[in-house]
């Protein structure tokens, strides 16, 4: 009896010792060296794996950060400047500083302002619908309402508004990871800097058609009339291919362009008090009228002056 116990103990112990030795040797042999910094950096990254930085996830991004000499063009949009500052502290490298960005939708074509012209019954995927044709409205540049951007968002920062049929970005949740921008086959989403208090002014349209055609297909389409250019004192607005664009870097959020837009295609967001368009327009009209009158008066005065001058001259001649 004792023999059996003894033999068992001896056999099992020796098997254990041999296995442990082999494993120890193997670990020495197959040891993979990993820079401990990678783990450290990975720790401070948000862990969202959204691929907004361009790497497939946070771990690969950490590897990239540790392994590259120059990381000034790498940036984690989700963590923002805070996280990048921590990374810089760990790695002792210089990092870029960027203003936080949020996604905005460059289309206001709700069912009300953009009537349907046909019926689409294919798969509910924007990419497929966009591949098949211009869409079920007259505008071949606008939102198709399939919600591919919403599906692409990993932060729950978007939802489809059932009333308008358009996606909505929840600014507080949006991290500016770019996922929706790449998901949209019509390139209708754009990352714009958050600026102060997340105030935004932008042209909510992508229609490149000539004014009349664009307006026919959608009531709030940008018709490329260039009135906003004249209203802007900072040269922040450009019009190309019948479409206006506001450069966020130059825009001072003065909102002078908003009331002059005849189709209301310039959007203001998060301002505590929206521009009173009616009032502004009435004021502008009055101003224009006053200006015209002033011009008229000036002209008349000039005419009178000329007449007087002529009379004087004639009189002089006579003399």
């Amino acid at each position: 009896m004792t023999d059996t116990i003894l033999y068992t103990v001896i056999t099992l112990t020796s098997v254990g010792v041999i296995a442990a030795t082999i494993l120890y040797i193997l670990t020495l042999y197959f040891k993979v060296y990993e820079n401990p910094l990678i783990g450290e950096v990975d720790e401070v990254l948000p862990g969202a794996n959204c691929a907004g930085c361009g790497s497939p996830g946070c771990r690969p991004f950490a590897e990239k950060l540790v392994n590259s000499d120059d990381i000034s063009d790498l940036f984690c949009p989700v963590g923002g400047n805070d996280v990048m500052a921590q990374v810089a502290k760990i790695l002792g490298k210089e990092v870029a500083e960027k203003d936080p960005e949020v996604a905005v939708l460059l289309c206001q074509g709700s069912c009300e302002v953009r009537p349907k012209t046909n019926f689409y019954d294919g798969p509910s995927s924007c990419s497929i619908e966009s591949m098949i044709y211009g869409g079920d409205t007259g505008c071949q540049y606008g939102c198709l309402g399939g919600g591919e951007c919403v599906d692409a968002c990993t932060f729950d920062a978007m939802y489809m508004d059932e009333k308008t049929g358009l996606p909505v970005v929840i600014d507080d949740k949006c991290t500016g990871c770019n996922a929706c921008v790449t998901a949209c086959p019509r390139e209708l989403l754009e990352l714009r800097p958050k600026q102060k208090r997340d105030l935004k002014v932008y042209v909510g349209c992508k229609n490149l058609e000539k004014g009349g055609v664009a307006k026919k297909s959608c009531n709030v389409a940008c018709i490329g009339c260039s009135k906003c250019i004249d209203a802007c004192s900072k040269d922040a607005i450009t019009v190309e291919d019948n479409l206006a664009y506001i450069d966020a870097a130059l825009c001072t959020l003065c909102r002078k362009c908003i009331p002059v837009c005849p189709t209301d295609s310039i959007i203001e967001e998060n301002f505590p008090k929206p521009v009173d368009k009616e009032k502004a327009r009435a004021k502008a009209k009055e101003k224009a009228k006053a200006k015209k009158e002033a011009e008229k008066k000036a002209k008349e005065a000039a005419k009178e002056k000329v007449a007087v001058a002529v009379a004087v001259k004639e009189e002089q001649k006579k003399e």
Binding site: G122, P123, S127, I128, M131, I132, Q140
Partner: protein, 435 residues
């Protein structure tokens, strides 16, 4: 036993309602819009100006590059607009709009009816003339024909296959052409034979058009170089690769071209256009279009000037029926629904099909039940259910490994799927994403 291709295929109801309607000339439209990209390859370059007067046959846009095609004025009149126009692609694309006035042709065109059999052009001259006439494949894909006639130097064509298989249900344009102009087509075949330097010609015709089979058999009696192949009815036999397999028994390798097995395929419509271009100096300004549909008053086959609005030819066929659900450009299998009736007929339009509301809707999409019917009907031996899932879940590279580019987009999988899954839609998307 009749020949056919062995792998897959389906048997949709053929509904050839307009088969006994002779080809009629469609009255001239008031305005035509001629898109400059009606073919595969680079869009042509517009060479006319606004307010310029043109005659039928004048070049209005020249081919830009080798794989491209000339575009001719299909009516006489005044160019009123050079702008984007909604075309069958579903998007607005550049087009030349001409207001029709009279019907004046350029002088070189022989408008007579009599058949001319003799020709004395050399190989190069034939190919050049075909190129100048702006001829593209009229079966539907609209691939520039001169490219097909000049195979790479290291490859030699030994058989010309004439595609008289109109496997799409409803369409009868090729069928009517075969029984009304068989002799012209045979002259066209001789021209193409010389252009390609081949000795053998096979005419593939499906057995559901026995009159066409009979006519060609009678006319080619005693000719050793041309053989008529009556084929067992099966969709998609009109596909280039399927037809080659059915006629010669050889399989075009994956990713290869028909020339790899020594075959060149041309549609009967193209062959007829070649006859007209060479013997009558007539560029491609018109084509035969079937207008059909179950509730259409007057399903017909029309000879239509390219650029004519679809609404005109529907009107000529008795107007849009009240229960119309979809207007399809092409056949029911590979055609594409139009979003507007103002779109112009292009070189690739083989038919306009009006589907009643009740039949036109897609079924409700349900989960895949793994019945593998799509696999068994795929004529290319692919696995559509797998390709769809891979593309849907964005495994693009794996889809490439699964030979997504071999798909000929025949739509057999969509047709057979009991769960109404949009298999082909996703495969097309995958092909576009991967390109």
């Amino acid at each position: 036993m009749l020949r056919t291709f062995p792998k897959g295929g389906i048997h949709p109801a053929d509904n050839k309602i307009s088969a006994d309607r002779p080809i009629e000339e469609l009255p001239l439209p008031k305005v035509v819009s001629i898109p400059i990209s009606q073919h595969i390859g680079a869009p042509a370059e517009i060479v006319v100006e606004k307010k310029q007067k043109v005659k039928v046959g004048d070049i209005i846009a020249t081919a830009k590059g080798y794989v491209s095609s000339n575009i001719h004025a299909t009516v006489s009149g005044v160019v009123t607009k050079i702008d984007t126009v909604l075309d069958s692609s579903g998007y607005k694309n550049p087009a030349v709009t001409i207001r029709v006035k009279d019907d004046e042709w350029i002088d070189t065109v022989d408008q007579g009816d009599e058949i001319i059999r003799e020709f004395e052009l050399t190989q190069e001259e034939i190919v050049r003339k075909i190129m100048e006439a702006g001829i593209v494949g009229l079966g539907g894909a609209a691939f520039p024909s001169h490219v097909k006639l000049a195979p790479p130097k290291d490859k030699k064509a030994d058989i010309l296959i004439v595609n008289g298989v109109e496997c799409e249900p409803y369409l009868t344009a090729d069928h009517r052409l075969m029984i009304e102009k068989p002799e012209h087509i045979l002259v066209g075949i001789d021209i193409l034979k010389k252009a390609l330097g081949v000795e053998k010609v096979g005419i593939g015709v499906e057995a559901n058009t026995p009159d066409a089979v009979k006519i060609f058999q009678q006319l080619t009696k005693g000719r050793k170089d041309i053989e008529v192949y009556p084929l067992k009815v099966k969709y998609p036999q009109g596909g280039e690769k399927q037809l080659i397999k059915a006629v010669t028994g050889e399989e075009v390798p994956a990713g290869g071209l028909p020339i790899d097995v020594g075959a060149i395929v041309h549609n009967v419509g193209t062959v007829y256009a070649v006859y007209e271009a060479i013997q009558k100096n007539k560029p491609l300004v018109e084509r035969i279009v079937t207008v059909t549909g179950k509730n259409l008053e007057n399903p017909s086959n029309f000879r239509v000037r390219i650029g004519t609005p679809v609404s005109d030819i529907i009107e000529a066929a008795g107007g849009l029926p009240e229960d119309a659900g979809k207007i399809i450009n092409g056949g029911p299998m590979m055609g594409k629904a139009l979003s507007d009736v103002t779109v112009p007929i292009t070189k690739g339009t083989s038919g306009i099909l009006i589907i009643p509301e009740a039949e036109g809707r897609r079924g409700e999409v349900k989960s895949c039940i793994r019945c593998s019917r799509c696999v068994s009907v795929c004529p290319m031996g692919l696995e559509p259910y797998l390709l769809m899932t891979l593309i849907e879940k964005k495994f693009d590279d794996r889809a490439k490994d699964e030979d997504i580019f071999d798909c000929i987009e025949c739509g057999s999988c969509n047709y057979i799927c009991p769960s109404h899954r949009p298999l082909l839609d996703y495969i097309r998307l995958g092909k576009k994403v991967l390109k």
